[in-house]
C-alpha cells in the first residue's frame, strides 16, 4: 500500500561544543537527504533545545522536540566521539522522549578528529538507541580525520563521502518505509 506522505527524516546534530566540526557533517548529510525524492528533512541542533540540566528523562520533554520526533519516520544522528563515547548532552536530549521513537530507523553518522570516524562512540551508542526503541541501521557514515574532510567553511574536500552517504541513505529510506508500514498496519497481536 503506497503512502502518499513524504518520509520525514530529521538530522540531529548531537553536540553543543564550540567549534564543532560535526556541524559541517550534519549540514552535508541534511543537504544530501534533502535531494531525495519523497523525503523531507530538517537539521535539529541540540544546542538550541531548551532542556534543563537539573532534571532528566521524560520529565523535561520539550513539546516542540517531542512533536518533531513524533512526526519523524526515521532519524539521522550525527555524533562526534568524545573520550571514546558519544556526547552526554546528546543522551540527555534523546532520553527526554520514548513513545516518539518506537519502531523507527536510526542512522548514525560518526565524526572524529582521529582516524576512526567515531566508531568507538557508535559502539557505545547503539545499545542506547535499542533501549529507546529505535532500530539502528547496519550502515554508518564515518567522518574520520574530519579536519581533512571539510574545510573551515564546511566545504566537502573528499568527494568519496557522497557515495558512502548515498549507500547509507538507501538503507535508511528502505528501513524508514518498511517500519512506517509496519507501525501503521501490522498489529502486535
Amino acid at each position: 500500500m503506497a503512502d502518499v506522505r513524504p518520509l520525514n527524516i530529521p538530522v540531529i546534530l548531537g553536540t553543543t561544543r564550540k567549534g564543532r566540526m560535526s556541524a559541517h557533517a550534519a549540514s552535508f548529510v541534511a543537504a544530501e537527504l534533502a535531494k531525495r525524492d519523497g523525503v523531507v528533512t530538517e537539521l535539529i541542533d541540540i544546542a538550541h533545545l531548551p532542556l534543563p540540566v537539573d532534571d532528566a528523562g521524560e520529565g523535561i520533554k520539550d513539546p516542540a522536540f517531542s512533536a518533531k520526533m513524533n512526526q519523524a519516520d526515521a532519524l539521522v544522528i550525527v555524533s562526534p566521539e568524545y573520550n571514546h563515547s558519544f556526547p552526554g548532552l546528546l543522551k540527555h536530549v534523546l532520553d527526554s522522549c520514548l513513545k516518539e521513537y518506537i519502531h523507527k530507523a536510526a542512522g548514525i553518522v560518526g565524526v572524529s578528529a582521529g582516524p576512526f570516524g567515531g566508531t568507538r562512540g557508535i559502539q557505545n551508542f547503539v545499545p542506547v538507541l535499542r533501549e529507546l526503541g529505535l532500530v539502528p541501521l547496519f550502515w554508518d557514515v564515518n567522518f574520520g580525520n574530519v579536519n581533512k574532510v571539510f574545510d573551515e567553511s564546511g566545504q566537502l574536500l573528499d568527494q568519496g563521502f557522497v557515495r558512502r552517504t548515498d549507500k547509507f541513505m538507501k538503507e535508511l529510506i528502505w528501513m524508514a518505509k518498511t517500519l512506517r508500514y509496519g507501525r501503521q498496519n501490522f498489529p502486535l497481536d
Binding site: 506522505r5 513513545k99 519502531h103 501503521q184
Partner: protein, 62 residues
C-alpha cells in the same frame, strides 16, 4: 492488549490506531512502583500508531 480494551483513537484523524509495540518500562515514582507487574519486573507501555497520519501515542497497561 486484551480484546476488551478499547482501541486508541488518533487525536488528529479520529481513526483507530494500530497497536504495534509494547515496552517494559521502569517505575519512576512510588505510585508507579505499586503497579509493577511482578512477573515482568516493570510496567507495560503500549505504543500505538495512526495508519492515516503516523501520529504515535502510548498508554500504560497492567
Amino acid at each position: 492488549m486484551s480484546k476488551d480494551t478499547p482501541k486508541m483513537i488518533c487525536p488528529k484523524c479520529r481513526v483507530e490506531m494500530n497497536h504495534h509495540a509494547e515496552k517494559l518500562v521502569d517505575p519512576v515514582n512510588p505510585k508507579e512502583a505499586a503497579q509493577v507487574d511482578p512477573a515482568l519486573g516493570g510496567l507495560i507501555e503500549e505504543m500505538h500508531c495512526c495508519p492515516g497520519c503516523g501520529t504515535t501515542e502510548s498508554r500504560r497497561t497492567r
